[in-house]
Amino acid sequence: MSILNIENVHTYYGNIHALKGININIEKGEIVTLIGGNGAGKTTTLRTISGLLKPREGSVSLNGEDILKYQAHEIVYKGISMVPEGRGVFARLTVLENLEMGAFSRNSKEEVTRNMNRVFTLFPRLKERRTQVAGTLSGGEQQMLATGRGLMSNPTILLMDEPSMGLAPVLVELIFDTIQQINKEGTTIMLVEQNALMALTIADRGYVLQTGEIILSDTAENLKKNPTVQKAYLGME
């Protein structure tokens, strides 16, 4: 059963045609990755799903319900959560306050405590730093915080925009291990990445985006073997 369905979506920035009719399907429990170069439209796709951008044409539906009619903050209540590009932690809020903001859509205290404990189990470092102001965290810790914050609303699907950006290789691995862990616990994941090799290693399926169009879609295994992908995104000749 596909939970997220994107059909023939056209999104514009002013007059710039950023997404030219893309189709993406995500099944429950999957990790799906969207790879592509700079300016291919990866972030635009995520911003369209999360409601920050509205497409001129096409449909986005979650569990069969059209979500384009909702504003960004309402879509969170439907079960979509996004970890934005460049982490976007609230630098002047503490770690704890950032996580509380992630749970803004949740009203039950027990649920918030449960989610908070889950985040602290995934990222013990965050627990150590919980009273610290987020702006003083290292890049890796901020990525942990952004990810944990994304989980605080207990989403059915988590959108992640370039979690590896600007992180040391060790931290990238840690973050990707955690993504797999989160997925095993039942959250469907849509992962946008420039680090195509890492992304294809943990993903079930992948889409390749080029200047606003999907040029390839296949299982991650097959994409890794695909000569076009190898040449353009994996740096192999």
């Binding site: 999360s50 960004a72 903050h73 309402e74 996004m82 809020l93 306050e97 903001m101 803004f104």
Partner: protein, 354 residues
């Protein structure tokens, strides 16, 4: 070559002027202070009076300044109609206080009477601020920054002259509260009751606001929105609702300040909001605009300097009526802050986000 020489000359001239200005101010302050203290014209009791008046006045500025600073923090916009929102609170308080005095309630229960007047002033201010936000600002969200600023100035005039239209240009005398007449004596020093009550009320209001912003879910959401609206929306925060809440809270503080101001000066008219509005804006800039503790500190500093300054700096350097220059002192402080430390006392970095 020639232009670069000309430019360098201009640079030198501007820098020279700025330094000259700095030095002039420092000389006036130091020399004036020295001469005044040596002349011993004022008794220590008078100095204490100046400071106490400065504190009570400053805490009113601080209350108003909170509204400027919170709206700026969220929308990066100066709400120039805020002074008029303050004035509308003073009017609201006037009508209810007059009525309460008329039925004798005010004399019997002065504390409740005062609280009711303040609440009503806050209510009026809040309603008017919400209307202004809805009509004059929200349709301009996303327009270049100058546009809502002009709209705010328009709203300010609109409110002033609407009040003038309804209530005329005359001055309404606030009813006097018997409970607030006279002085209380602390350690042998008499302090006007009004000033103590005003200061306490302002401090209570500020503490309430500060607790809301720091500890409640909505307050944390306000801080999150002021940092990044898009990401806040991704958390499920309704950004528009938070903006409205911010206006409402700021206006409630201004309404309370309006009633307190009117208690101090015993009068209100349609123009009452202008000067305190600009002073409070100065206080917000002084403390660092966008910074809530900054607004409180800025208000107090401005109130005290304005009250102590004329006597301390200006009296003995031959200025005949120094107290007439207290507004000038406030505005010179604004100019100096803008020139020499635009980020204000508590230094919020304002230039980064647009």
């Amino acid at each position: 070559m020639r232009t670069s020489f000309g430019e360098r000359l201009l640079d030198l001239a501007v820098n020279g002027f700025l330094w000259g200005f700095r030095i002039l101010i420092v000389v006036i302050v130091v020399l004036g202070t020295f001469l005044t203290i040596r002349a011993g014209k004022y008794t220590s009791e008078q100095w204490i009076d100046f400071v106490v008046f400065g504190i009570s006045q400053g805490s009113i500025y601080a209350l108003i300044a909170l509204g400027y600073t919170m709206v700026y923090g969220i929308l990066r916009m100066i709400n120039f109609a805020h002074g008029e929102i303050f004035m509308s609170g003073a009017f609201g308080g006037y009508f209810i206080a007059t009525w309460l005095t008329g039925i004798g309630f005010m004399d019997k229960y002065p504390v409740f009477g005062l609280i009711i007047s303040m609440m009503f002033g806050m209510l009026v201010s809040t309603l008017i601020a919400l209307l202004v936000e809805r009509i004059a600002y929200r349709p301009l969200r996303g327009a270049p920054r100058l546009v809502p600023l002009i709209s705010a100035i328009g709203a300010s005039f609109f409110l002033q002259y609407t009040f003038r239209g309804f209530f005329g240009p005359g001055v309404y005398a606030y009813p006097s509260m018997k409970a607030l007449d006279g002085e209380w004596i602390f350690f042998g020093i008499g302090i006007l009751k009004v000033q103590i009550v005003v200061t306490i009320a302002a401090v209570v209001m500020m503490s309430i606001l500060y607790s809301i912003v720091m500890f409640t879910k909505i307050g944390k959401a306000m801080r999150a929105v002021s940092e990044n609206k898009d990401v806040a929306a991704l958390m499920g925060i309704d950004v528009n609702r938070i903006i409205v809440t911010t206006f409402a809270l700021g206006a409630a503080m201004a309404g309370a300040a309006g009633v307190l101001y009117a208690l101090t000066y015993r009068q209100v008219n349609f123009f009452t909001g202008f000067t305190p509005g600009i002073k409070a804006f100065t206080a917000a800039v002084l403390g660092g605009i966008g910074n809530i503790p900054g607004a409180m500190v800025g208000g107090l500093v401005l109130g005290i300097v304005e009250s102590v300054g004329p006597a301390l700096f200006l009296d003995s350097i031959g200025i005949p009526r120094p107290y007439q220059l207290k507004d000038a002192i406030a505005y010179i402080m604004l100019v100096m802050i803008l020139l020499f430390r635009p980020s204000g006392i508590l230094g919020e970095r304002v230039s980064k986000k647009a």
